[in-house]
Amino acid sequence: MDMKKPQYGLAAVIALSLVFFCAGYLLWRQGGPDVEPRVDTTDSVAEASPETNVDNVDLLARVIMGEAADEPYLGKVAVGAVIMNRMRSGSFPNSLSGVIFEPWAFESVENGLIWSREPTDDCFRAAVEALNGFDPTYGALFFWNPSKPVGPWIWSRPIITQIGDHVFAR
């Protein structure tokens, strides 16, 4: 028995070190946003609107999923419409990807969420309708959830309507 105690000690040191090592490794793995390779879903979305191209449907559907996954269908179209309206505004980038990847513009783009979740069918339908020009927000350029903290300057914008949990403003 006496002989074995030190071996337990050695085993304990090694085991503990391994535990720390594994924990560290796991933490490291989870540290960055878990960006999965982009799945090409263009086959399932074979069509797009005039004046746009097929890839735009996929990209827009991803942002709609990221920003409005729990919103009603109209709220999904509305988020897509805000992105389309920004393209047509002089104080935003004038391309779809420019608007979507603008720093700070969309939380789900900043944290990589748009690449980790596949858009649902109604996100695709909403993206298609928004690209087709359907705009239930009448030209809104901003949307936010009034029950969450947002920058004070955003409240100075004239609110047009509320759809689901988001208010839409110019």
Binding site: K5, P6, Q7, G9, L10, V13, I14, S17, F20, F21, G24, W28, S44, V45, A46, E47, A48, S49, P50, E51, N53, V57, P72, Y73, L74, V77, R88, S89, G90, S91, F92, P93, N94, G98, E102, P103, W104, A105, D121, D122, F124, R125, V128, E129, N132, G133, F134, D135, P136, T137, Y138, G139, G151, W153, P158, I159, I160, T161, Q162, I163
Partner: protein, 452 residues
């Protein structure tokens, strides 16, 4: 524990420590390298903005000094390009929208305005008004460059780093340091006195103030509007379980909002609608119902869409294109005045391909632009217009069409559907001036024809 075992344990510990240390150092290096790359990317964008902005200032000044309309054309095309590049790069910087909005708008408009001048049909002469506007823009560009230089000096002096702002660690800042947002605020403050620019371009100020021309009639009450929309929506026999008013909407067209629920209680189909306060026009409605597998053909769906409009008393609409997506078909309609197709008066309808139900009706385009038009008499004939086409095109169809210009004015044109090298095009020749105004390429896909 004897010495050997003790040594073994220590060695094991040190090996693990060593591995951890190597891993830590490599992580720190990777992070630093990523940070430097970010910083370089942002600096590249910033220096690009500065260089383009300096070019803008020089080009505006040259344009004002030039006596040759041709050379002004060249300078202003160059201006348009530089302004676009500056704006694009500005939006790649990690700055809040409220510190770049006006600068961005200035860059967009200065290029767009210059470009609109070069495109004018009447000999491209700058009017006195244009010259004074250009002078104001020139002054603004000078002020912009002064402020950008200050930002650059602050960045060079290490007062802020672009990527530091991005991580939002402001408390660790040394005294006298600032965020990039703070540094840029002074740039934005120079942009307060921008002139209102009205010209024939997509970013002209007049577009934001467009009035709905198709919204006619008397004020209606919310009850009248609700009754109207209830009989308008295509419920396809589904029982309405619940309906309610959702309040007013303060958009381009002041409206009442309504919501209807059909289907079962667990997963109801929600139909949302807006009806204008003036005249009680249905602006849009959309049904969230999930569409089952397609059972009807595209041609049948098109008929459903056409019959829907007719039954709702919306006449003289012609189908312009259809597009299949999943189990739905989008059908686009434009108003037809006599033989002339009026593209700005646009209604879009989304048909479910499982039962032919109209899921979305969107008449915002129509209500914004429809009116009784006094179309001008064409100054050139159809055969004269045909002669303006590229001789390589084989014309298949021709008709008259009203199309929107960049600045949302309307142009009376001849529309030619034509073929070249097996590819289809739509070409629009201005019926008053004979200019080729637009050319679209038609791309045939399994879902429908895309217009590029």
């Amino acid at each position: 524990m004897n010495l050997r075992q003790y040594t073994a344990a220590l060695i094991a510990l040190f090996v693990l420590l060593g591995i951890t240390a190597i891993w830590g150092v490599s992580q720190a290096q990777a992070r630093r390298s990523a940070e430097v790359q970010m910083e370089n990317k942002y600096n590249r964008a910033f220096y690009e903005v500065m260089q383009r902005s300096k070019n803008i200032e020089a080009l505006l000044s040259k344009g004002l000094a030039s006596g040759s309309p041709n050379n002004v054309d060249n300078l202003f095309s160059d201006l348009w390009y530089n302004a676009n590049a500056a704006q694009e790069n500005l939006h790649q910087l990690p700055l809040s929208h409220n510190v770049i909005a006006k600068t961005s708008k200035f860059l967009t408009q200065v290029g767009d305005y210059a470009y609109a001048i070069t495109k004018r049909d009447d000999g491209t002469k700058m009017t006195d008004e244009d010259r004074s506007t250009m002078r104001e823009l020139y002054k603004t560009a000078q002020a912009l460059n002064r402020e950008l230089t200050k930002v650059q000096q602050q960045a060079a002096a290490g007062k802020f780093r672009w990527s530091e702002v991005q991580r939002g660690i402001r408390s660790n800042f040394a005294k006298g340091s600032m965020s990039a947002d703070q540094s840029f605020r002074s740039v934005e403050s120079q942009m307060q006195e921008l002139p209102t620019l009205i010209y024939d371009g997509p970013f002209s100020d007049h577009l934001e103030r467009a009035k709905p021309l198709g919204v006619t009639g008397k004020e209606v009450t919310a009850e009248q509007a609700q009754k109207k929309v209830r009989s308008f929506i295509d419920f396809k026999g589904a029982k309405v379980r619940e309906e309610r008013a959702t309040g007013t909407v303060k958009g381009k067209i002041p409206a009442y909002g309504f919501e209807f629920r059909t289907g079962d209680d667990n997963s109801p189909d929600i139909i949302t609608a807006n009806v204008s306060k003036t005249g009680g026009h249905v602006i849009y409605y959309t049904n969230s119902r999930r569409v089952a597998e397609a059972k009807i053909s595209e041609a049948q769906a098109r008929t459903f869409a056409e019959n829907f409009l007719k039954s709702r008393g919306i006449n003289n609409m012609e189908t312009t294109y259809t597009l299949k997506e999943g189990n739905t078909l989008t059908v686009s309609f434009a108003y037809k005045e006599g033989d002339v197709i009026v593209y700005p008066d646009l209604i879009k309808v989304l048909v479910a391909l499982d039962n032919g139900q109209i899921l979305t009706y969107d008449a915002l385009g129509y209500l914004m632009s429809h009116r009784e038009r006094d179309l001008p008499q064409p100054k050139i004939s159809l055969s004269e217009a045909r002669k303006k086409l590229n001789p390589e095109l084989e014309v298949e169809e021709e008709r008259m069409a009203v199309i929107p210009s960049d600045g949302n004015h309307e142009l009376l044109t001849y529309e030619f559907k034509a073929k070249m090298d097996g590819e289809d095009f739509l070409v629009y020749i201005n019926a008053l001036t004979g200019e080729e105004e637009r050319i679209f390429k038609l791309l045939h896909t399994p879902g429908g024809t895309l217009v590029l």
